[in-house]
């Protein structure tokens, strides 16, 4: 049964969809970007369908300012209260629930890593973590970089498209790779805060990564650093052989489903 419902968060009314299941471990799906709870190409609704046939209850919600929910859209950085309220609403809607696994892709994963405190969430599955520091406005353009690519990097919308699959980064000038991995300091403050968030979390964490996804490639730079050595030693890290950012293709969808079922079991 698919049920549509609402719950409160900081005085606003948030919309959610519950796919019922008899299992005691539920999946809370946190949406990335400005996506609706159905996901791009209805992908999250489809994922919920695939899990609910296995008896897993699934809860998806629009955070404040997105989709059917009221309020202002503050992006992933202010979505902590929405996540906590969603987890509580999930438990209230499914009284037999004993455990919540929360899944987030891209900046939704980052939101979970940073803002899980106080949310009744037991397990995290984080995919293609967003760890990108914005290029400082006064950074001098490196000689090797073509001006138009640097212009694109300074436009937040173009940057988003670049990192979430809109452009094949491998096909751009070699200089762009230099910018992406060296000049723009991907192992920065955000990656540090993600590491701290992961260390703070009391439950199990699984990291997922699409091997040729630009966002995942950038996080991998941080993942391989000394700062992440202890986390590397204890957190499972699974790689999908794909360039897709959002598990668009059927083999990737099946891989993601299997990873989630493993975390839920």
């Amino acid at each position: 049964m698919r049920r549509l419902m609402t719950f409160s968060c900081e005085g606003e009314t948030l919309a959610a969809t519950l796919d019922e299941g008899a299992g005691g471990t539920g999946l809370l799906i946190v949406s990335g970007g400005n996506e609706l709870r159905i996901g791009s190409h209805r992908g999250m609704a489809e994922l919920a369908d695939a899990l609910t046939v296995e008896g897993v209850p699934v809860f998806r919600f629009d955070r404040r300012g997105i989709g059917d929910s009221t309020g202002e859209n503050g992006g992933y950085t202010s979505s902590g209260p929405d996540i906590a309220a969603a987890a509580r609403a999930f438990r209230k809607a499914v009284p037999h629930l004993t455990r919540i696994v929360a899944f987030g892709n891209c900046d939704a994963g980052t939101a979970l890593a940073l803002h899980h405190d106080g949310a009744p969430i037991d397990v995290l599955v984080l995919s293609n973590l967003w760890a990108f520091e914005e290029l400082a406005a006064d950074t001098p353009p490196p000689a090797a970089i073509k001006a138009r690519y640097l212009e694109r990097l300074k436009d937040p919308r173009a940057l988003w498209r670049l990192l979430t699959g809109g452009v094949d980064i491998a096909k751009l000038a070699k200089g762009l790779r230099t910018v992406a991995t060296a000049e723009v300091a991907p192992v920065g403050e955000l990656a540090e805060r993600i590491a701290q968030g992961l260390e703070r979390f009391g439950g199990a964490v699984t990291l997922l990564s699409c091997r040729r996804d630009n966002t995942a490639i950038l996080f991998r730079e941080a993942w391989k650093s000394d700062r992440y050595a202890a986390l590397r030693a204890r957190l499972p890290y699974h790689e999908c052989d794909s360039a897709s950012h959002s598990y668009q293709h059927p083999p990737d969808k099946a891989w993601l489903r299997d990873r989630l079922l493993a975390a839920i079991a």
């Binding site: 698919r2 549509l4 159905i38 190409h41 992908g43 489809e46 096909k171």
Partner: protein
């Protein structure tokens, strides 16, 4: 906020907003990615209408949104039937549509149709083909638009897997002429309209921009037009 509606071949969900005793309008979004890009904006417009004493429904059509029917199995004629049945169930007095949503309002049992930036099916399918061809180029292959006319498996376009019959039906469809029709377009749109409003084509981007302002402008337009057409709004 949510309710179900029955249509000829199933049951789907819909959003319901506004005062209990108010006249009801029904909204249809365009299909596929534009629905994702426009839903937040459209809900803003419907909430603004509620503040102006006008109730509304936003039905998920079969094979869209939270429907259990896959996008691959969506049928244009089902969209039209379901939208009409939702209008009937809610007692709607007007159909509001955005972009290619205008392709589903013909069968609605309403005398008033309001269309924002209506798009015909040929234009919609041309855009879908362009996206498909751009993806093919990135993958080092090509896509021949004639594929749509041949029998074969559904075609993946920007993540949505669209059946060939649906693409053909969309390509042949156009917003139907109607009495009681009001057309609104952006100032940057050269096509004919009853009124043009300032703003940018927010269906082309996922990031919210000036959508709140435009939502209020359009809600004011709908409310004023309904009043002129003799539809009394709830106090």
């Amino acid at each position: 906020m949510f309710a179900d509606y029955d249509w000829a071949r199933g049951r789907e969900a819909m959003v319901c907003l506004g005062p209990a005793d108010a006249p009801v309008v029904a909204l249809a979004l365009p299909p596929f990615e534009e629905a994702n890009r426009l839903r937040t904006f459209a809900m803003g417009m419907l909430r603004a209408l509620a503040e102006r004493g006008i109730a509304s429904i936003l039905p998920d059509l079969p094979g869209t949104g939270e429907s259990r029917i896959a996008t691959t199995d969506a049928v244009l004629e089902d969209w039209r039937q379901a939208f009409a049945d939702a209008c009937e169930a809610a007692g709607a007095v007007a159909a509001l549509t955005i972009r290619a949503g205008a392709l589903v309002d013909a069968a609605a049992p309403v005398e008033l149709r309001w269309r924002f930036a209506p798009q015909d099916g040929a234009s919609l399918v041309r855009e879908l083909i362009r996206v498909r061809q751009a993806n093919a180029r990135e993958e080092g292959t090509t896509f021949d638009a004639a594929e749509i006319d041949a029998d074969g498996p559904p075609i993946p376009i920007a993540g949505n897997i669209l059946s060939r019959p649906l693409l053909r039906a969309l390509r042949a469809a156009a917003p139907e002429p109607a009495l009681g029709l009001r057309t609104v377009r952006l100032e940057s749109d050269a096509q004919p309209a009853d009124i043009k409003v300032p703003g940018s084509p927010l269906w082309r981007r996922a990031e919210p921009g000036d959508e709140r302002t435009l939502a209020l402008v359009l809600a004011d337009d709908v409310a004023a037009w309904l009043a002129r057409e003799g539809v009394a709004c709830a106090a």
